[in-house]
């Protein structure tokens, strides 16, 4: 059985946020909702400072705390490991958002779908995309499930100009992702939370 995942090479990431924009374009998320984002930090002491980047998105955890916390069963896990939200079952209790240590759950506040990024209401694109959301419910990154189901890669992966993101199946031991993780000592965010993320990072 496949377990879809992603490897992000931090040595290649230049912090351009193309993934952030590609994600917004693909998913048509409302204002303030970013499935993919790049955390930036300045490290060092003047004059030897540098800016470092950490691209983050839903980790599609194997032991997802959001799914455990969800009282209504709205959060469910596909056979290929993608953590999904059934918006028709979601009651908007936000327990999943509190449970996710990576803060990758997003709540569609009341009124959020009534205005787009322009001041003149919704653009034709927003009008179509916003219909996929529902006020008062949670939403999240799906690894671009509709694209994946068509055999395509997630939007953030194909957009990355430095090829810092590699998407694929984590299951095969001799697969591309496992090989990278093994050879370059891949690691996950907040390992002490024991969520078994499907997004790995490389920095060696």
């Amino acid at each position: 059985m496949a377990r879809l995942g992603m490897v992000i090479d931090l040595k290649r990431c230049i912090g351009c946020n193309a993934c952030t924009l590609a994600c917004k374009q693909e998913n048509g998320t409302p204002e303030g909702v970013h499935y993919a984002r790049v955390i930036t930090r300045e490290v060092g002491t003047y004059p030897t400072t540098r800016r470092t980047f950490l691209p983050v998105l839903c980790n599609h955890c194997d032991d997802a705390p959001c799914a455990q916390a969800c009282p209504s069963g709205a959060t469910w896990i596909r056979n290929d490991g993608l953590v999904m939200v059934d918006r028709e079952k979601c009651i908007g209790c936000r327990a999943c958002a509190v449970a996710c240590p990576y803060m990758n759950r997003h709540f569609i506040e009341k009124g959020l779908l009534e205005h787009g990024y322009s001041t003149d209401g919704l653009s034709p694109y927003e009008a179509i995309k916003f219909a996929e959301f529902e006020e008062g419910t949670m939403t999240k990154c799906t690894f671009c499930a509709p694209r994946v189901d068509q055999g395509l890669e997630p939007a953030c992966v194909v957009t990355c100009p430095t090829d810092a993101r590699i998407f694929g199946d984590l299951e095969p031991e001799d697969g591309k992702l496992q090989k990278l993780i093994r050879e370059r000592k891949g690691w996950t965010l907040l390992p002490h939370c024991n969520t078994k993320p499907s997004v790995f990072y490389l920095d060696e």
Binding site: V43, K110, T137, P191
Partner: protein, 305 residues
């Protein structure tokens, strides 16, 4: 990397601790009403106070459940929250609230209607048992709702359900005493509760100290919350409302009350204790911090953060 080098991030694109902003004052009110109402109901049941039982029941059924409904993004689907009791503490809480509403209603109906329960004593006994168990569950399950996930380290301790239970017991005790005093001070059945209250306050104070001491040695996110409580932006609320008003003033006044019994004083004590109780829950929710998303490039890989 030291704790002091990390600050609270202004937004999700910045590095740092992240504030818990999902659960707001409505959830705090629901937790407060749940603990207080169930505590009042059970302690009133133990002391035979009908008014306390009725008020406690209403605080849970209307206050707690009402605040939860107001908070939900889709309140019309609230029944779905009971779907996964096998894995969700919220779902277990919904079941407990439902059972409490039914069993408590069966117990209280004859009292409200002015007739004793004669028709089926066995049903009354069963209802009483269910009301006690579900009421007790409501008193502490919020602590498990909060501590279940490791996302917010300040909540992620087994001490939290105990702290919540202790405060619910204290709130129930204080209100039962107050109601007893307001009804008929001379023939009250709460004298033993008045003697117990100071010890309960001291136990709560000690538990709170242990909690903060434990968290001050926990992860950096938990340490930062403790710092905010003791020295930072929430120090006034912590020392002023939770410690000074909620514990110390309540303790001193409850000792005075044992010598100089007055109905007005009972009301002041109840006001002080409830202020501390509510402030504690609100501060717990408001000061919850998510850990930074650490990376080697940021100076750490995240173990222990």
């Amino acid at each position: 990397m030291t704790t002091s080098s990390i600050t609270v991030a202004p937004h999700r694109f910045a590095y740092g601790f992240y504030r818990q902003a999902w659960w707001n004052w409505l959830i705090g009110t629901a937790f407060f009403c749940g603990g207080l109402g169930a505590g009042l109901f059970l302690i009133s049941l133990a002391t035979g106070q009908r008014l306390g039982m009725i008020l406690g029941y209403l605080v849970v059924v209307l206050g707690k459940n009402g605040a939860h409904l107001l908070y939900l993004g889709r309140p019309e689907r609230f029944w779905r929250a009971a779907m996964r009791p096998d894995r969700s503490w919220i779902a277990r809480g919904i079941w407990a609230s439902g059972l409490f509403a039914m069993s408590g209603g069966i117990l209280l109906l004859p009292m409200i209607l002015g007739s004793e329960w004669h028709a089926a004593a066995s049903i009354a006994t069963a209802a009483k048992a269910i009301a006690i168990v579900s009421g007790l569950f409501i008193m502490f399950y919020d602590g498990f709702v909060m501590n279940h996930s490791a996302a917010i380290p300040f909540w992620n301790t087994q001490l939290l359900p105990l702290l919540i239970l202790m405060y619910a017991t204290l709130g129930g005790t204080t209100l039962t005493i107050t109601l007893g005093a307001l009804q008929d001070y001379e023939s009250r059945e709460t004298a033993w509760l008045e003697k117990a209250e100071p010890y309960l306050l001291i136990a709560n104070f000690l538990l709170l100290c242990v909690y903060l001491l434990r968290m001050s040695r926990w992860t950096p996110a938990a340490q930062e919350t403790v710092r905010m409580w003791v020295k930072g932006r929430y120090a006034r609320v912590f020392f002023g409302l939770i410690v000074a008003v909620g514990l110390i003033a309540t303790l001193m006044l409850s000792v005075v009350q044992q010598q100089w019994q007055a109905q007005g004083l009972s009301l002041v004590i109840a006001g002080c204790e409830l202020t501390g109780d509510f402030s504690l829950l609100m501060l717990m929710l408001k000061s919850g911090l998510f850990s930074p998303q650490t990376a080697p490039a940021f100076g750490a890989r995240g173990n222990g953060i």
